[in-house]
Symmetry: C2
Subunit: 249 residues, 2 copies
């Protein structure tokens, strides 16, 4: 058996999220169906770095699987891309260490969130950015972001349904870039709770547009209460950008 | 009655082209249904600068219609954008001269064609660019383009099904720009025959990749035979970019 690891890019628009679910079109389900085809009907289980929700995109999702087949990495890539639908592409494929684990070995993840500011929106970006055409004070958002960098209990910044007990996470980097008519929020951390990036972005947008105050962010964190933070920004602006493993450090 | 003119942007992916057709989702059909709603069920006929094919996009399609309603231009825009699906946006709306005609008054049109050169493609651009990951000599394409600028009989560069008799058109500008991993062909002319832009692009791509020669373009034009030119590039890379009327000159 060989352990293979791959990097996937997908347009989340047409999927009910990453994780396999009966009677739903999911990224994992689509990927495993194609792998099963390549293994003459034998079911192949894949493990990804984590799930993504409905409408959420990936530029660099990582997954692994074990296979009895001896196929060169390039040939794997070509074969999978031929069989996969065109809203999923395999960007890279390689033979991994047999001990490599796409979820447990994650050292950090980077997400990006694209916000479209133009008044009229853009038909070509409607599934790829969150259209938010309101006056915004980006400097205020940047100041608020500083309060979120570092190790914090992010209870206020995750879905109230989160079942994980330990909600302490470290945000290494949280930057807001203005490019043309877009605002791009990049966030890197050692781990993310359910909806954490989308709640951080939603809160920053409320601060930028004057509905919440920059100086209230420390209190939001201290409250450890989901209601203390802002709304959850929609999924279709979010990208799982990069997954970092020990070897990348 | 007032004559209103508007500028539409649409993502062609989900439409069977611009022109209304029974039992098909078309841009014109969608637009006229919404106008009918606004006119309490009364059918409203719209006239556009021209049709676009299935999958072809528009950044600046122009249309006009007559209405008994007295609504300010901004309110028209807001109302239509509220009722239209999110793959069609009204970019501008104004009251036009009662003599203005969106088709007959066209002085020139600009189309753009986006070619994606990156090896792996891009899931987010799959409906918006033509993926052509082959070695290309862009300078050779630019030289070939020079032969097409000016007044020519474009019989070789339009669909063999074209019914128009006079196939002489003037190309004012034909430029090829390299931007990141894309090649963008911009073409402006006084009129375009059926499939003309896509056949010009397909021919330029065959020249760029060495399948046809730059110096053969004058013979292709002289042949007045569709088989003399290259293949028709697919619709999803094409954008109706801008329609020019007398007043813009």
């Amino acid at each position: 058996m060989k352990r293979m690891s791959g990097i996937l890019s997908y347009d989340g628009t047409g999927f009910s999220g990453y994780q396999i679910q009966p009677d739903q079109r999911t990224v994992q389900g689509t990927l495993e169906k194609v792998l099963q085809q390549m293994h003459k009907g034998e079911a192949i289980k894949t493990t990804a770095s984590g799930r993504t929700d409905t409408g959420v995109h990936a530029v660099g999702q990582v997954f692994h699987f074990d296979t009895p087949l001896s196929i060169a990495s390039d040939a794997w890539k070509r074969a999978l891309n031929t069989l996969l639908p065109d809203d999923i592409r395999l960007v890279a494929m390689e033979e991994a260490d047999p001990e490599f684990h796409a979820r447990f070995d994650v050292v950090a993840k980077e997400y990006r969130y694209r916000i479209l500011r133009s008044e009229n929106g853009d038909v070509f970006k409607r599934n790829y950015t969150y259209h938010f055409p309101y006056e915004m004070d980006v400097e205020r958002m940047r100041e608020a972001a500083l309060f979120l960098i570092g190790e914090h209990d992010f209870t206020s910044f995750c879905s109230a349904k989160t079942e994980v007990v330990d909600k302490v996470r470290t945000v290494h980097r949280l930057e807001i870039e203005e490019t043309g008519d877009e605002l791009v929020v990049s966030i890197e951390g050692n781990g993310f709770l359910y909806n954490m990036v989308r709640i951080i972005v939603g809160t920053l947008l409320e601060i930028g547009s004057g509905k919440k105050r920059t100086e209230d962010v420390p209190e939001m964190l201290a409250a450890k209460d989901r209601d203390a933070a802002g709304k959850t920004a929609p999924g279709h602006g979010l990208y799982l950008w990069k997954v970092l493993y020990g070897k990348d450090e």
